[in-house]
Amino acid sequence: MEQSVTVFSSFSVQDLSFLGEAALRTLWISFLSITIGSFLGGFFGWALYEMKIWGAIFLNPLLDVFRSVPLIVQLVLFYNFAPIVGLSLDAFESGLVVLTLYTSALVANVARGGIEAVGKPMRIASRSLGMSYLQDMRYVVFPIGARAIFPSWVGVALGVMKDSALVSVLGYVELVKASQVLITRTQEPLLIILVVGAFYFALSYPVSRYSAKLEKRWSQ
């Protein structure tokens, strides 16, 4: 019995800072993939809207793959097949690429909905004032469409942040991976999973509070 004490040690304050660092990694990979993925998804959404036939033939099926194949499968496949085509990516980079594409696939349809939400009469009105296509997009379609899809976009973003947990299978030490390490050492799974849950909540709660505030302001 003496032996087990040296192998397993209980949850301590230092472990919190270990989890804190892991939370920052979760935040970092989520932030990057949501940001880049949203830009990319916005572009795909625009392409789906403008190029109906090409979008339906090529882009939509491609995005469907990212949407419908489980993220964990995408991660493992990409991580293992990337070296074959000559890409040497570590766990973080592989996770980032897959999460970004996954985000963009989710955002694409949301973004297309946003452009559709603006409606043709509104766009004819702005064009009739002499605005160019790009000016109409930048000053009318984007602000109106973005407000319309904002709640769905926040949903996607929070979802991706939680889904980033799956990058742990590649060995990237974000929250879930860190918790596995600690559980192995402390043998206190319930406590640690509770703490990890609290970390995820602390990451997403401010986002959802802030977005609710923005929505309220816009609806005035």
């Binding site: 009469p121 509104m122 004819i124 009105a125 702005s126 064009r127 009739s128 004032l129 002499g130 605005m131 160019s132 000016q135 000053y139 009318v140 602000p143 109106i144 407000r147 816009w218 005035q220």
Partner: protein
């Protein structure tokens, strides 16, 4: 001057405009009346190049609207347009709605554009609503906002596409009054309208559209008191 020659427009197989010849002189107010589907609104859309045409031409101050080389964004600055639906930009206040196009299209400075916008809102009687968002305005106020927005581009012509059709009856008057003021100031206007009183009182000429052609055109007195065409008589009997 707006000059339309032998204009034909199809939507697929549907022959909407079947040879329109029309001239609108500077300072003139032309009202276009006729049943729904007679091509009145389509004509306006062809004048500012929103809809392509299949045959014939539209010249605005000598510029061929449908020529490939025509810079439509530039041309449209001469042609203010007001629609049945007012289409206020919901994310912008009244003054920002009006100032947006002068600022980004005419490249005015922000303060200059705001000044123009304030002046135009004053002009349409919304001087006390500068910083109000559109959802806090009535339909009539939003339609006047749309008029101010078009006027802020300093257009030579104003095209009104059934500007009062979507309004509650009690709000029609304020919009018609605004249009009346514009006409008195000498604005050249083409008004597609179902308001016969407005057409009779304000226009210099009235054109009756029937199934894609100008069935009859003349002074309001002549059209309303002494219509020549049987179709015109039938239509006027129905709307009276």
């Amino acid at each position: 001057m707006i000059r339309i020659d032998g204009l034909h427009k199809y939507f697929g197989d549907l022959h909407v405009l079947r040879g329109i010849d029309l001239e609108v002189q500077k300072g003139e107010v032309l009202s276009v009346i006729g049943a729904s589907g007679s091509g009145k609104s389509t004509l306006l859309y062809c004048i500012n190049g929103i809809e392509p045409v299949q045959q014939g031409s539209v010249l605005v101050d000598g510029i061929d609207v449908h020529a490939k080389t025509t810079d439509l964004n530039r041309l449209r600055q001469r042609l203010g347009m007001v629609f049945q639906q007012w289409n206020s930009f919901p994310h912008l206040t009244a003054i920002q709605n009006v100032a947006l196009a002068p600022q980004i299209v005419k490249k005015m400075s922000k303060s200059e554009a705001m000044e123009v916008a304030a002046k135009q809102l004053e002009h349409v009687g919304l001087g006390d609503k500068l910083n109000v968002f559109p959802n806090a305005l009535s339909g009539g106020q939003q339609q006047r906002l749309a008029i101010a927005r078009a006027l802020a581009m300093d257009p030579q012509y104003m095209l009104f596409d059934e500007a009062t059709s979507a309004l509650d009856p009690e709000l029609v008057g304020e919009v018609l009054d605004t249009m009346r003021v514009l006409a008195e100031e000498g604005m050249t206007m083409i008004c597609v309208t179902h308001e016969m009183g407005f057409a009779r009182d304000v226009s210099d000429r009235v054109a009756y559209f029937h199934e894609g052609i100008v069935e009859e055109i003349g002074s309001p007195e002549q059209i309303f008191s002494d219509p020549k065409s049987e179709q015109t008589k039938k239509f006027l009997a129905k709307v009276r």
